[in-house]
Amino acid sequence: MAEIFVCPESEMKDGDIRIVRQGRTEVGVYRHKGAFYAYRNHCVHQGGPACEGVVKGKVVDLFGEDKTFLGQTYDHDDPHIVCPWHGWEYKLLTGECAPDPRIRLKKHEIVKRDGGVFVLI
């Protein structure tokens, strides 16, 4: 396993993504609310570049106490990584596939050292 330099920590702000390519391995590095996350850039569905798409909050149905439908909103505390090929969604905080947690993006460890962000590949 190698420690791959991504960038200085100060270079990435919340919402930023970096794609790290080392040989045939590609990893998406995310910063969300100050924390870093890293996942293999490979969608479990058809192999798409899952980390090269958009990040959107989980869509939530809103219901009243009587179970009537009131509308929809985004839960930005549960951001989803969206594969740009077909729209498969993964939870940014865990890598779990949103509709089926048994499926997940491969997770990579992040190391912060000397002001830099490194990912273990």
């Binding site: 190698a2 993504i17 798409g48 959107k56």
Partner: protein
């Protein structure tokens, strides 16, 4: 641990390019050695409305030509099929495709199409329009006829004549059976025309006597007739769905289910035994459903379909089907049984539907564990090659990969 120097990129700063978006598809093509065999994509698309400035000149009716020009080719008019295929920005190629650089030497559609074909390892693609899938809903019959004629003329002259890797089955304006027949008479035999197309979002029964000359003309010429599904959110039954996932999942199957049912129970396969039909973009799960449903009812009510000499499923098993969007979630035993029921080895044709949101790569077929290599090759290209009577062809990029391996093409 070693500290290494990787390539780090920021996707927010990159310009859109199909080859980059599909880099993983190309890796799949190289890993699986797609250069060893021909791949034909029987259902792919372009956005004809991007070329409306060229197409409008082909409209023969001068009044309609002006209408087309000022509505920028909006072919669906009042009865839109509706929907949001791009998933609110999640499928990035929808928002960015207009910004993409295309090779300058050829028509933009040819250049962009070649990009995704080469990434996926597709050698020949059968391309269809996109908004025109809803043209059959247009309440003005003459609009369907004029737009279809203009599009077919433009397509054959500006696209198909210019690139042997692109073929098509041409749109038939079925709301005017005489005009549909004339389309076959005028366009059969033109370069790249490998059949004709009925878009199945329409509300005229395809068993009508007015169509029999059309079917005879196709049968005599040995040209297949394709049925391309779509959805229509304005359909009365779809109108009660309130999310696009519902109208899409149901509609894309339903419009082929209803026309297939009519096709079989009216005995069209018995009346035109040499007419080959292709059923496009409904997935595969509907076929075993409909086979079982029709067989069961036919055994009780054969008097209502007296022309049939065999079970409905026996006719359906002799038709052709495209793969996409193939249902592939936790259902491999069902999928395998489906392949058996439709004689996939000879009747199934690979399709990507690219660039639409639910596209399928060739690996959806190549990676199936229950197929042997010859069956995979058949479905990915050989079945379509025989059906369309095409020569074996391997793309320049794939030939280069063969050469790099020291293999003669």
């Amino acid at each position: 641990m070693n500290v290494m120097s990787p390539i780090v990129s920021d996707p927010a700063r990159e310009t859109f390019d199909t080859r980059s978006l599909l880099a993983h598809a190309q890796q799949q093509a190289e890993d699986r050695k797609y250069e060893d065999f021909m791949i034909i994509d029987v259902d792919a698309h372009h956005y004809e409305t991007d070329s409306y400035r060229d197409i409008w000149e082909y409209i023969e009716d001068p009044v309609m030509r002006d209408q087309f020009k000022y509505t920028k080719g909006a072919t669906m008019m009042q009865r839109s099929t509706g929907g949001y295929q791009e998933m609110a920005g999640r499928i990035t190629r929808y928002a960015h495709r207009r910004t993409e650089q295309a090779p300058g030497a050829v028509h933009r559609d040819i250049g962009l199409t070649r990009k995704w074909m080469d990434s996926m390892g597709v050698d020949v693609a059968c391309i269809f329009p996109t908004p025109m899938l809803g043209l059959g809903l247009n309440p003005v019959v003459e609009v369907e006829v004029q737009y279809a004629r203009a599009y077919n003329k433009w397509l054959t002259e500006k696209i198909l004549a210019q690139d042997s890797r692109l073929v098509s089955m041409l749109y038939l304006p079925m709301n005017d059976p005489v005009a549909a027949l004339k389309m076959v008479e005028d366009f059969a035999g033109k370069k790249g025309v490998c059949g004709f197309l009925i878009t199945t979002v329409r509300y005229k029964g395809l068993y009508d006597n007015a169509y029999m000359k059309l079917y005879r003309a196709l049968e005599e010429r040995g040209l297949p007739l394709a049925f391309h599904a779509a959805t229509n959110w304005g359909d009365q039954s779809m109108h009660i769905t309130n999310r696009f996932i519902a109208t899409h999942a149901l509609g894309f199957s339903w419009f082929n289910i209803v026309h297939m049912t009519n096709w079989v129970v009216n005995g069209i396969p018995e009346r035109f035994p040499g007419l080959k039909s292709i059923w496009i973009e409904s997935g595969l799960a509907w076929i075993p459903f409909l086979m079982q449903r029709l067989d069961n009812e036919y055994m009780m009510r054969s008097s209502e379909a007296p022309t049939l000499k065999r079970l409905p499923s026996d006719y359906m098993r002799e038709m052709f089907y495209t793969t996409q969007p193939m249902e592939m979630v936790n259902n491999q035993s069902m999928l395998q049984e489906t392949f058996k029921m439709i004689n996939a080895e000879t009747q199934l044709l690979y399709s990507s539907d690219y660039p639409h949101w639910d596209m399928d790569l060739p690996s959806t077929i190549y990676d199936l564990p229950f197929l042997n290599l010859q069956q995979k090759k058949n479905i990915l290209g050989e079945n379509a090659r025989k059906l369309f009577k095409l020569d074996t062809f391997i793309s320049e990029e794939k030939r280069a990969r063969l050469a790099a391996r020291g293999v003669r093409a």
